[in-house]
């Protein structure tokens, strides 16, 4: 029988902040979205105060002040590095691992004797905590869906942070009370349909007829049902190169002039190209969009996008910048207060799977080594050491991140100081 463990970091962003500032232990913490607009992560203490996930910061100002809640801008450099450390520590415990998100990983633990499993997970959990300072919860199950359910129980109900759902008795007990919308992969869109079919609890979905579920919710729904029965259908997934790359952020202030929007777009384009080259891909289609702020009812609203298809796929920032600028010129209209722009690179292909072209000399591509050098310099000396003129110098559109903690593990001049 297959054995899956889902390891999930507890309140990951808040935990990262605590590692480097022990004063924050037991202190309510919230983390803000890009641009400091909304609350995207909360410590348990902040959840207990009733601060909602995703809510705008300004609505919570009073409660934050009253309870002296610590507020941070997102520090993605720190979270990314700590995530890497957690995943590297976990990798010592299983050769088969799928990093599912920044703070979650599936591990196959089939090689272990059942009686050792609990102890093994206990050691793993203690090791991650010691090495990184990040507390994790571990759910163990015969399928990925059940491991995910077990993790939910481990996090909410177990002091030791571990729950094993492999026994039939444990499955019956938990699935009986678990709502279907809490099941991994079900979410909102299906739970309504299931409710109409008279299925509201996980156990009811498990015991339904696979054929009927397949008819209503496709083969994906049937797989979830089988996974709930402990029949493993979803295997660990190798990391696949992304099929499209998006880079977009809100501006610090609303913008009306084309110049600063163009500059912001150039920065997102450069970032997207960097990601593109990192996964050894090139893009054939470029999509650019602009948006006004829908929440400002007094403003006139305008949203638009434009797609451009290149003759040959490229990963050269200079070509993409040219295309992005062209797309923006097609959709930008004077007289609106813009909140956001963004770029999406689509139809990605691997550099090695390149189509031969009849009229284009693919060997003549002066950009490639140059882009490689730009990427290396920026990697060694920090982002934006070398940038394109179109990206601008003053960057007045730049988003706010005024409350970011130091990037303790990725910047020499922001290291933790101890006396």
């Amino acid at each position: 029988m297959k054995v899956f463990a889902l390891v999930d970091c507890n309140n990951f962003y808040a935990s990262c902040e605590r590692v480097f500032d022990p004063r924050l232990k037991r202190h309510a913490i919230v983390i803000l979205s890009n641009n400091d607009g909304c609350i995207v992560a909360r410590s348990n203490e902040a959840k207990a105060l009733g601060i909602p996930m995703g809510g705008p910061l300004f609505e919570q100002k009073a409660i934050i002040k009253k309870h002296n809640v610590a507020v941070f801008s997102s520090n993605y450099q720190l979270y990314g590095d700590m995530s890497q450390r957690v995943m590297d520590s976990l990798r010592l415990y299983s050769p088969d691992m799928e990093v599912y998100s920044i703070d979650e990983a599936f591990l196959r633990l089939d090689h272990l004797q059942p009686r050792n499993l609990y102890e093994y997970c206990k050691t793993m959990r203690a090791k991650v905590l010691q090495w990184t300072g990040i507390p994790v919860s571990i759910g163990i199950g015969p399928s990925k869906v059940l491991a995910k359910v077990a993790n939910h129980v481990a996090k909410k109900q177990r002091d030791d942070g571990i729950f094993d759902i492999r026994s039939q008795q444990a499955q019956d007990e938990i699935l009986k009370t678990l709502n279907v919308d809490k099941i991994w992969g079900v979410a909102g869109r299906w739970s309504e349909r299931l409710r109409l079919m008279g299925i509201s609890k996980a156990s009811e979905l498990r015991d339904a007829s696979p054929t009927i579920i397949r008819k209503h919710l496709s083969v994906v729904g049937e797989r979830i049902l089988r996974e709930l029965r402990g029949q493993s259908c979803l295997d660990l997934e190798e990391i696949q190169p992304r099929k499209s790359i998006m880079s977009s952020k809100s501006f610090g202030n609303l913008l009306t002039k084309k110049g600063p929007i163009e500059e912001a777009l150039a920065n997102y384009a450069a970032r997207a190209c960097e990601k593109l080259r990192k996964q050894n891909s090139q893009a054939q289609r470029v999509y650019v969009f602009v948006e006004t702020n829908g929440f400002r009812e007094i403003d006139r609203q305008y949203n638009n996008g434009f797609t451009y298809t290149l003759t040959i796929p490229t990963s050269d920032t200079r070509s993409i910048l040219e295309v992005a600028k062209f797309c923006l010129s097609k959709i930008y209209k004077h007289g609106y207060r813009y909140k956001k722009t963004g770029i999406m690179l689509m139809d990605l292909t691997s550099v090695s799977l390149e189509q031969k072209q009849l009229f284009v000399d693919l060997n003549h591509r002066p950009g490639d080594p140059l882009m490689g050098i730009v990427d290396r310099i920026n990697q060694d000396h920090g982002p934006d050491t070398l940038f394109f003129g179109a990206q601008g110098v003053t960057r007045e559109w730049k988003m706010r991140c005024g409350l970011r903690s130091p990037r303790y593990t990725t910047q020499w001049d922001e290291l933790l100081a101890v006396s």
């Binding site: 022990p22 004063r23 232990k25 890497q84 450390r85 957690v86 590297d88 520590s89 010691q130 090495w131 990184t132 300072g133 310099i377 060694d380 050491t385 070398l386 110098v393 303790y408 593990t409 020499w412 290291l415 933790l416 100081a417 101890v418 006396s419």
Partner: protein, 142 residues
């Protein structure tokens, strides 16, 4: 905006140094070439557990006696057991501090290495929360 020209220190950082077992004679190929060993990597020398190793900046003069000075770079390994006599990063009243850990019988204290700082005594039975063990100090002589 700054125009970047690669400077020598950057190139030096990128270089690796092959270790030869004997002098290399000029003019003819040395038989010693067969014995070239791998390049020396400083990271490998000072970092045994990369995912548990953190760089921390020392401030103040309380550890001068241990060779740790203001502004020095400390290499801290969280995977090591904090035992008596090791220099550690420890948590005291929510602050992180670098001190030498002393454990005599069941009594913990954090010793500075500078006569003007008294040791931090912990209440009987209380344990020190150790953040990590300092393995190396990088001190700039320039």
């Amino acid at each position: 905006m700054t125009a970047i020209t690669p400077n020598t220190s950057e190139i030096a950082r990128q270089c690796s140094f092959p270790l030869f077992l004997c002098h290399v004679a000029a003019g003819f190929p040395s038989p010693a070439d067969d014995y070239i060993e791998g390049p020396l990597d400083l990271n490998e020398h000072v970092i045994k557990h990369p995912s548990a190793t953190y760089f921390v900046r020392a401030s103040g003069d309380s550890m001068n006696g241990a060779g740790i000075f203001n502004g020095d770079l400390l290499i801290v390994d969280r995977s090591l057991e904090p035992i008596h006599g090791k220099v550690v990063i420890a948590e005291v009243d929510g602050q992180l501090t670098v001190k030498r850990l002393s454990k005599l019988k069941d009594h913990f204290s954090l010793q500075s290495e500078n006569a003007s700082y008294p040791p931090i005594e912990l209440q009987e039975g209380n344990e020190v929360v150790v953040w990590g063990v300092v393995t190396h100090v990088l001190h700039n002589l320039l």
